[in-house]
């Protein structure tokens, strides 16, 4: 599903240049649930942003679902993001003046889907994260866990090839974190490919594979025995 070869990324900071990714080689099969771990500054978020086409690598190859991702302009990137990727952010990033259902329906709007169809689909995905009754509530009327579930529903609504989650539990307490991870595991059980960036061991071990990143290179890439989050809930 994802193929990365010799990926480099450096940021210019004034006269210095900060080499963040120093040759990443990495591939993800369909249906995998991969945790990308590392301390802050290890380059994990940068990697995820490049995977999410929110950022661009300096060199290296990136193939997503057989499509080489290169020579991106903003328009092309936007179309790929819409078609291939779903995002879940640490700070949820819901649009605060749109209610839960409208938030979930937003990527569908950019897929040029009709309003009715959009709302039906949004409600269906809200149902899957167990928030049907909260469909007409604004984000500030929801708890952190609920917000993240809305965000996950939004990411899934576009039916992406890959779900990218950047510290999805970073802003949540552990109980809520496990609920969210439970949801992510269930989505993975349905055959969806998911990448989770985290620095929490317990969250990482709820994935099927852990990629350890340190100082811009992969130091360890291991398959782990998945801990089901539902055991903690």
């Amino acid at each position: 599903m994802i193929e990365i070869k010799d990926l480099h990324k450096s940021y210019k900071m004034g006269s210095n240049s900060l080499h963040v990714l120093k040759g990443i080689n990495f591939s993800v099969e369909e249906g995998e649930l991969v945790a990308i771990m590392g301390s802050s500054g290890s380059g994990k978020s940068t990697l995820l942003n490049i995977l999410g086409m929110l950022d661009e690598a300096n060199s290296g190859e990136y193939t997503l679902d057989g499509v080489p991702i290169k020579d991106l302009n903003e328009t092309k990137a936007a179309k790929y993001r819409n078609k291939f990727l779903g995002f879940v952010f640490q700070s949820f990033n819901l649009i605060n003046y749109k209610n839960a259902m409208e938030n979930v329906a937003l990527p569908l709007y950019y897929q040029k889907m009709g309003r009715k169809e959009r709302q039906e689909k949004a409600l269906k995905y809200l149902g899957q994260v167990g928030l049907t009754e909260w469909a007409t509530h604004l984000p500030n009327e929801l708890s952190g866990g609920q917000k993240q579930r809305v965000a996950i529903a939004r990411a899934m609504a576009a039916e992406p090839k890959v779900l990218l989650a950047d510290e999805p539990t970073g802003a949540l307490d552990s109980k809520t974190s496990y609920e969210v991870m439970d949801l992510i595991q269930k989505i993975n059980d349905q055959g969806n490919t998911i990448l989770v960036v985290t620095h929490e061991e317990d969250i990482a071990h709820m994935c099927k594979r852990i990629v350890h990143l340190k100082d811009g290179i992969i130091v360890k890439d291991e398959k782990v025995k998945q801990v089901r989050a539902s055991e903690y809930v």
Binding site: N49, G52, L54, D55, E74, T75, A78, K79, R81, N82, K83, F87, F89, S91, N93, L94, I95, N96, Y97, K98, E102, L106, P107, Y109, Y110, Q111, K112, G114, R115, R154, A158
Partner: protein, 420 residues
């Protein structure tokens, strides 16, 4: 283009506008005020324009009066201070020599310029009213509305020196019974019986003349008051496209020549140039219209810049939202057009509200000035002005929306998302 007619686009825009009410209202007020000022000002200017126009409606705009005074320079053996008298044949001379003239109406009056008004009697009623001796051509210069069933003096009246009279509304009310038809009735003007042939409508909006004026044929007047070929003054109308000031000078030069007055004697003939006065007033009201246009457009501009400013701030505020939208697959084009459409839409809404408010204000002003003596009628803003203002707003709204829109897409989605 497809974007413009897509319901979804508009739902997104209504969503983002409707759910940021304070921002929307503040944004709208600026432009609303601008267009309101524009409409109210240019409407008021137009009202004044109309007011002046209706004041001069009852008289040809390029007309003038010329009358005789006394000389102030000795010439050809005549002493200074010689009283001059206009003659009927002067009219023919003027007509021949000055091609710019369209109509010349020699006139006489009893009841103005120091002479006693005529005593008009009917049965046991009587009153005094000014009596004018006129040619039919006079109505070409100063149109008179005659009530149904009546007419003004015609050429045959002149030829036969008929004893016929056109009376005013007030004269009719004072000499005739309410339900009596004055046409065909007889009145006595200074002891001579005249048949009434028409009643002229008094125009209160301005012009010259009163509601008691009586018009009789020039030829009859001449006989009645024994004035011979003497003319009190000439009412003259020039053709539409000529320089009335120059024509006035030509007429006076010609009259000085005919009456053997020194060519430099400015005081020998008096004149009042309505055309010139009219042009001055029109120029004044044109100036006001222009000024109101400038002020209005400047205010609209200020309002639109205000919209741009607020949108710019709101784009900064919404950086994260726009970043999210782009992460979810909004292309830069879509983001840009959303911001621009928001700008245009707000501008339009504000503009239309301003137009309605402005129109309401104009109506209010109109109803207040209805009954007072002020040159102000029917204040309207011509549709092209309104459409022009709307067009300006759409164009400016788009242009000003470009700045925040460009800013919105110039931030990389990754930076937008990172912004806290």
């Amino acid at each position: 283009m497809r974007l413009l007619f897509d319901r979804n686009t508009w739902q997104e825009i209504f969503g983002s506008i409707g759910k940021n009410k304070v921002r929307t209202i503040i944004t709208i007020v600026g432009v609303l005020w601008g267009i309101f000022i524009y409409i109210a000002l240019s409407g008021a200017a137009k009202g004044m324009d109309n007011g002046f126009e209706s004041m001069f409606e009852s008289i040809a705009r390029n007309s003038m009066f010329v009358w005789a005074q006394s000389t102030s320079i000795p010439h050809e053996g005549f002493k200074t201070g010689r009283q001059l008298q206009l003659k009927l044949e002067d009219a023919a001379m003027m007509e021949n020599r000055i091609p710019e003239l369209q109509y010349i109406a020699p006139r006489n009056v009893k009841g103005f310029f120091g002479s006693e008004p005529a005593i008009i009697g009917r049965k046991n009623k009587s009153g005094s009213y000014p009596v004018f001796g006129d040619f039919p051509v006079f109505t070409k210069i100063a149109p008179k509305k005659i009530y149904d069933g009546g007419r003004f003096i015609n050429d045959e009246d002149i030829d036969q020196a008929r004893k016929v009279a056109v009376i005013g509304e007030r004269t009719q009310q004072e000499l005739f019974e309410k339900d009596e038809d004055p046409i065909g009735g007889y009145i006595k003007i200074d002891d001579v019986y005249f048949q009434v042939i028409g009643v002229h409508k008094f125009d209160p909006s301005g012009g010259f003349g009163g509601d008691g004026d009586i018009f009789i044929p020039f030829a009859t007047y001449k006989k009645l008051y024994n004035t011979g070929d003497n003319v009190g003054w000439f009412s003259i109308a020039a053709h539409d496209d000529v320089d009335v000031v120059k024509v006035e000078d030509n007429i006076k030069a010609l009259l000085r020549n005919i009456h053997r007055v020194h060519p430099d004697d400015e005081r020998a003939f008096g004149s009042f140039n309505l055309g010139e006065a009219f042009n001055r007033i029109i120029g004044f009201s044109k100036g006001i219209t222009f000024l109101s246009l400038i002020v209005g457009i400047a205010t609209i501009l200020a309002g639109v810049i205000g919209i741009g400013n607020i949108l710019l701030i709101s784009v900064k505020e919404r950086t994260k939202e726009l970043g999210v939208r782009r992460a979810l697959g909004a292309t830069p084009r879509e983001v840009r057009s959303q911001i621009i459409l928001e700008s245009v839409f707000l501008t339009m809404i504000a503009g239309i509200m301003g137009i309605i408010l402005g129109a309401a204000t104009l109506k209010l002003i109109n109803s207040f000035t209805q009954d007072i003596d002020f040159p102000y009628t029917n204040p309207t803003v011509p549709i092209p002005y309104v459409l022009g203002a709307l067009a300006i707003m759409v164009i400016l709204g788009t242009l000003i929306g470009l700045i925040p829109a460009q800013r919105a897409v110039s931030i990389k989605p990754i930076d937008a998302l990172r912004e806290e």
